[in-house]
């Protein structure tokens, strides 16, 4: 398997994503979400005091993307991720194009790697777009002011911006684990709708488990809990433990799914179409 071959397949996977409406649906949701929030904030008094940084959304635009991360973790970002992760293999089955690309000069492993990388690229882009729009729209609505951390200290706009970017980076870890689940379902079900809905269902069921009484000891090791790990960055001093835990817990969810998807894709019979 050559890197050049994988890079070539990756470039075409990106071009295919660019040519598909589904991609813009996901990216559109990522862009609209903060815009709707900011417009709602402008039209109504008060703020979401029950979530972290909710009370600061009128003080600093930098609080807006952080609130979006909390709102988006329940189903929105898993949905945005699943739209592509669940579709990227299944769509090839649906179109019958898997046989077309598998009879060219690239190995199955290269195609898998390129598709997984393209999914990660899309997920990163969606998150970055949401963050950028939220910062800009929030800044316009609430001003580019210093940010108050969870420890109550105020940090400068520059430092706050860095913390927002770092938070987005940490938030990406559980999202990539969700993407891995989507890739696995996409290869197994060979059906886009089933894989997208299935990924979302897995995310929602895990979310449900986190609120079931009596399962508190499990909570730190469930995937949805890792969507809060970025909050460790917003403490003074920075609390790395949730971030480190998020890294290995998400790896424990994501890597077996990714490995399973790889093996299924490598060994499967390509029929139909």
């Amino acid at each position: 398997m050559t890197t050049a071959g994988t890079a070539s397949v990756y470039r075409w996977e990106i071009r295919k994503l660019i040519a598909q409406k589904r991609t813009y649906l996901g990216l559109g949701i990522a862009v609209l979400m903060p815009l709707i929030f900011v417009v709602a904030l402008s039209l109504h008094a008060g703020q979401p005091n029950d979530v972290a940084f909710g009370r600061y959304v009128r003080d600093s635009g930098l609080a807006i993307p952080l609130v979006m991360l909390i709102f988006g973790s329940i189903w929105l970002f898993p949905l945005v991720t699943a739209l592509v992760a669940g579709d990227i293999f299944a769509a090839e089955d649906h179109n019958g194009t898997l046989k077309t690309i598998l009879t060219r000069s690239v190995d199955r492993g290269q195609i898998f790697a390129a598709k997984a990388l393209a999914t990660a690229t899309y997920t990163t882009l969606a998150l970055a777009l949401m963050g950028t729009v939220a910062v800009v729209a929030g800044g316009i609505a609430s001003g580019f002011n210093p940010l108050t951390t969870l420890s109550g200290t105020r940090v400068s706009v520059g430092e706050g911006l860095l913390l927002v970017v770092a938070s987005l980076g940490v938030y990406l870890i559980p999202l990539l684990a969700v993407a891995s689940i989507g890739l696995l379902l996409s290869t197994i079900t060979r059906n886009s709708a089933a894989a997208v809905v299935g990924t979302l269902m897995v995310a929602l069921i895990l979310q449900l488990i986190t609120i079931l009484p009596g399962l508190e000891s499990l909570r730190p090791y469930l995937l949805p809990s890792q969507f809060d790990a970025w909050q460790g960055l917003l403490r003074d001093p920075i609390d790395w433990s949730p971030i480190i835990r998020a890294a290995w817990v998400c790896a424990a969810y994501g890597l077996p799914c990714l490995g399973g998807a790889y093996l299924v894709f490598l060994r499967r019979d390509v029929t139909g179409g």
């Binding site: 075409w12 046989k99 077309t100 009879t103 690239v106």
Partner: protein, 315 residues
């Protein structure tokens, strides 16, 4: 580089089971360089499954498939060097233009594939529609784009799975002309079809598959020689009704039917001789008594469905 002197296609004891069903059961295929090889069989006989195994799309349950000496299951994409084609109807990304689709495929192939796109589009007569989205292409245009997708690989072996299926008569004619032209250019072609006439027109060697098993493999000339059936006769007389009674009375005459103003029957040659004497002795004038050569189509039916019925022979 492929193995020196290796045949373009060599399948030995190829088997594919789906549960208890053997879709392909011990298929041997040998395609030599320069062959235009027909892989003939009725729908569901196992042609497409065989081709999928040859291209490494599905894993054989048993046996081996080699393309230029390489096993697609073991050697992956390397086994497809110099090989191109499609199984069932070629599929493309409907939201991209024909040219973009070819560029994508050329990107996956590397080498000089991209530089061959214009020539391939010209060859299949799609240059004018290359900028249109494939979603708006007719079935025939997609078939031709499939050929173009194969040609940009500059293949030495072209595998085509029922390339004329679903095409109108003009489209079928154009596709056959194109395949003939490519074969005349020295390309080895393995072409599956359920149409005997198509294989007869295009191919010099043929394998006939029935229920997953090969029932004939050899040169078209050998198949043609098998098609001649001396035991079937056509008879016209001055009074066919009376001749029918005489034929019925003749020991050794079987499968006697009256079709289209003549009688048809089967009989060994000496019986046919005695029958002619009996007809004359009965006062009948024999206008015609000739062995009836079965067509290749008849032979195909016989090989793939068992002995043809009298109705099939008559048709």
């Amino acid at each position: 580089m492929d193995q020196l002197g290796a045949r373009p296609v060599e399948a030995r004891g190829l088997v594919k089971h789906y549960g208890d069903i053997a879709a392909v059961n011990g298929v041997d295929l040998t395609v030599e360089a320069g062959d235009v090889y027909g892989y003939l069989g009725p729908n569901g006989a196992g042609k497409t499954t065989s081709l999928r195994m040859l291209l490494g799309l599905i894993r054989p349950s048993g046996g081996s498939a080699r393309l230029f000496g390489r096993d697609p299951m073991l050697d992956g994409a390397k086994a497809l060097q110099g090989v191109a084609g499609f199984v069932e109807s070629p599929r493309f990304y409907p939201y991209m233009s024909g040219r973009k689709n070819l560029e994508l495929l050329a990107g996956l192939d590397g080498g000089g594939a991209k530089g061959r796109i214009d020539e391939a589009l010209d060859t299949v007569d799609l240059s004018d529609r290359a900028k249109d989205r494939v979603g708006g292409y007719s079935h025939g245009m997609r078939q031709r784009l499939g050929i173009a997708g194969a040609l940009i690989r500059d293949p030495r072996l072209l595998l085509l799975d029922e390339p004329t299926t679903g095409l109108d008569p003009a489209g079928m004619r154009d596709m056959r002309t194109l395949v003939r032209r490519l074969a005349d250019g020295g390309m080895t072609v393995l072409l599956s079809s359920h149409l005997m006439g198509e294989v007869e027109e295009l191919c010099d060697r043929v394998a006939i598959i029935r229920s997953g098993q090969i029932v004939f493999e050899g040169a078209m000339a050998d198949l043609r020689s098998q098609a001649t059936d001396d035991s079937a006769y056509r008879l016209r007389t001055s009074n066919d009704e009376w001749a029918y009674t005489v034929c019925l009375a003749q020991v050794g005459v079987t499968q006697l039917v009256a079709v289209g103003g003549e009688l048809r029957f089967r009989a060994p040659e000496p019986v046919a001789g005695r029958l002619s004497v009996a007809l004359v002795e009965a006062g009948l004038e024999i206008l015609a008594l000739a062995p009836q050569n079965a067509t290749l189509e008849d032979l195909f039916f016989r090989m793939t469905e068992g002995d043809p019925t009298p109705a099939q022979v008559a048709s």
